[in-house]
């Protein structure tokens, strides 16, 4: 189940709480001088040379543009995401789309949904909105919670750490997927998207927090923290001004890897019927409703499936590359 950035999680666990890709301190030898500004340039240059990364970036940008421009695109394509088109389906055959490949054609670019003849293109476009919105909001919230709790636990240690760690352990011991479904199915359908974000983040933050905590614990041992303390810095100043900047790359990497996880989670929950509420389209919900049709009308299943897979893949590849680039910069 790909609802948490397992991989980083796992690697974090293996590496004793530090992310391998996270930039370590410059080695205590003569480090190749590199300012962040030039580092940024180096990263972006290396990135642009990487064809796969560029392709993934382009795909993500396209999907984002698509999501933003959904109303416009739908105007061009001619059908809204909720609009029924009885003429596109065959009422004698259980409502399968008329024409080849799920009714693809000039009218309906990606075909139509069986049964009601809704335009799949329009639903994909609007579905992208939902998927991206939820994934990105959940990522932001998770990052916020994970960073704050991770920093606090790692920095203060002792009882605070004990409590936060126990809570994290508890949340991670929880069968999150089962529970997310149970909670979501028990909750009212209003504000479902908001609830999705909340529930996903609620179970998601410990994975980031654990890594942030580990890094904070090792950063806190670095002498600059002691120096700041000796200079009169308060705990908050040390945490946010001294330690946080050093976590930037970890957070960036974790975030880029969290987004695909949450795109997948949202889709998975929608697939299981507790995600976004119809008629709002989401890719997972589209895949779920295509299940009974997948043998008759494969296009109905393949189109959202492919969009989802490519989006997750793109984010994953991107995260992977960013991690490698930032990691290289530090090594």
């Amino acid at each position: 189940m790909s609802f948490t950035p397992t991989e980083l999680e796992v690697e974090g666990a293996a590496g004793g709480g530090t992310v391998p890709g996270a930039p370590a301190s410059p080695p205590a030898g003569r480090g190749a001088p590199d300012r962040p500004a030039t580092e940024w340039r180096r990263v972006s240059r290396a990135f642009l040379r990487d064809r796969a990364a560029v392709a993934c970036g382009v795909y993500i940008v396209l999907i984002i543009l698509m999501a933003v421009a959904a109303p416009l695109l739908v105007k061009i394509s001619g059908y809204g995401p909720l609009e029924f088109d009885q003429d596109a389906v065959d009422p004698n055959l259980g409502g399968i789309p008329l024409g080849a490949a799920g009714g693809m054609g000039a009218d309906h670019w990606f075909g139509v949904e069986p049964g009601n003849g809704r335009d799949i293109f329009a639903r994909i476009v609007y579905g992208a909105r939902v998927s991206m919105l939820i994934a990105i909001s959940a990522t932001l919230l998770t990052t916020f919670l994970g960073v704050v709790f991770g920093l606090v636990a790692g920095y203060f240690g002792g009882r605070v750490d004990m409590v936060v760690s126990r809570v994290m352990e508890f949340l991670m011991a929880f069968p999150a997927l089962i529970f997310m479904i149970a909670v979501l199915s028990a909750l009212p359908a209003e504000n479902r998207q908001f609830l999705l974000v909340l529930v996903i983040s609620f179970f998601g933050w410990p994975y980031l927090a654990r890594i942030v905590r580990g890094q904070t614990m090792s950063l806190k041992e670095r002498e600059f923290v002691e120096a700041a303390k000796a200079s009169g810095a308060t705990s908050a100043q040390i945490i946010f001004k001294e330690i946080l900047p050093n976590l930037a790359s970890t957070i960036i990497v974790m975030t880029t890897l969290a987004v695909p996880g949450y795109v997948g989670t949202e889709a998975g929950l929608s697939f299981l019927g507790v995600g976004v509420v119809p008629p709002t389209p989401s890719w997972g919900q589209m895949i779920a409703s295509s299940v009974p049709w997948y043998a008759v009308d494969p296009a109905y299943f393949l189109i959202p499936g492919a969009f989802l897979f490519l989006l997750v893949l793109s984010f994953t590849v991107l995260g992977d590359r960013i991690r490698r680039l930032l990691g290289e910069g530090a090594a």
């Binding site: 189940m1 991989e7 479904i181």
Partner: protein
């Protein structure tokens, strides 16, 4: 050592207790009244009250929770008089839907989930470690890059998309595999194997990808360790250097992480079991959720948490066994 285990056990109980409480609170607070649901159409308010009393859900929260907890450890009795039902410990109550004892339901389905988990685990462990080793040996070369591509793909494909695609391709279109059907191993081993093949693959793909990357990273990192250099400086053969000094340290963390993943999977692969119609714990969870069958949801949640927590502990103990540095009872 004993103190360490006792400590872990106590911690484990605390986590399980919290999981219990949390789950209970959520269902107590959020859940709709199961009595109404059980009562069905043509129901009277008296009937509803009666059902509520039978289920014990007319009691205040803490009473219910206490009864549940005592049921877990000492068993409990449902109803009164001649209809009283004794539910032996560990009593997770009775399904609202089928009135089966949840413990029985779990016991009945555990073999399926275990089969799924074991098969998938074997697959992903073999594929992951082999892939990771190959990648590490060929670092930077074509095979490495190819495997990296595969792992990224494997990590990105949502399991239900993979499951449905496989079923469409292998069963519906190509007809290479029959439709999944409940067949015991003893009845028809071939058919049994065919039934579980797709679920195994689906579950193994994502995990294998993660394990490949992990193995690769660990092996590469270990090869840079000073002690590997020492081993080479001793004039050991490359085979020996690899086997003793690279693989064991590199694979130890994988074994331990494997324990956790495996425990998690034993608690049911919700999506995979549902898609392939396997009557395991995961499917039971999915079904009970759609039917709001609280005792079953509670049971599955607790089981899954229990497995993860126990897995965690086993892993810790295992670690002390296989990594001499982790000495129990003393902090380095």
């Amino acid at each position: 050592m004993i103190r360490f285990v006792a400590n872990r056990l106590l911690g484990m109980l605390v986590v399980l207790f919290l999981v219990c409480l949390f789950t209970f609170v959520i269902f107590f607070v959020l859940s709709p009244d199961p009595a109404v649901q059980i009562c069905g159409k043509n129901c009277t308010p008296e009937a509803i009250d009666q059902i509520r009393a039978n289920l014990g859900i007319d009691q205040p929260f803490w009473t219910q929770f206490w009864t549940f907890l005592t049921g877990l450890f000492a068993g409990r009795t449902y109803g009164t008089g001649p209809n009283a039902i004794d539910c032996a410990a560990p009593c997770l109550g009775y399904s609202f839907q089928s009135s089966q004892a949840v413990t029985d339901m779990i016991v009945q389905r555990l073999p399926v989930s275990a089969t799924v988990a074991v098969g998938a685990a074997v697959l992903w462990l073999l594929a992951g470690v082999a892939g990771g080793l190959l990648s590490a040996v060929r670092e930077g070369r074509f095979a490495d890059r190819f495997i990296a591509g595969l792992t990224l793909t494997g990590m990105s494909i949502p399991n239900y998309v993979l499951a449905l695609s496989l079923q469409f391709l292998l069963v519906v279109t190509l007809g290479w595999l029959p439709f999944p059907q409940a067949v015991a191993f003893s009845d028809d081993p071939v058919r049994w194997f065919q039934n579980f093949l797709m679920p195994w693959i689906v579950l193994a793909v994502g995990m294998a990808a993660v394990y490949t990357r992990l193995t690769r990273a660990n092996v590469i990192e270990t090869l840079q360790e000073n002690y590997v250099r020492t081993a080479r400086a001793k004039g050991l053969s490359p085979g020996l250097v690899w086997r003793r000094h690279a693989l064991r340290p590199a694979l130890t963390p994988i074994v331990t992480i494997f324990g956790m993943d495996f425990a998690g999977l034993l608690g049911g692969a919700l999506i995979t079991e549902t898609v392939f119609g396997l009557n395991g714990i995961g499917k039971m969870a999915a079904d009970s959720i759609t039917k709001n069958d609280q005792p079953v949801i509670m049971g599955v949640t607790l089981l899954a948490a229990f497995l993860v927590v126990v897995g965690n502990m086993v892993v810790d103990l295992l670690y002390t066994a296989i990594d001499p540095r982790v000495r129990v009872g003393s902090s380095a």
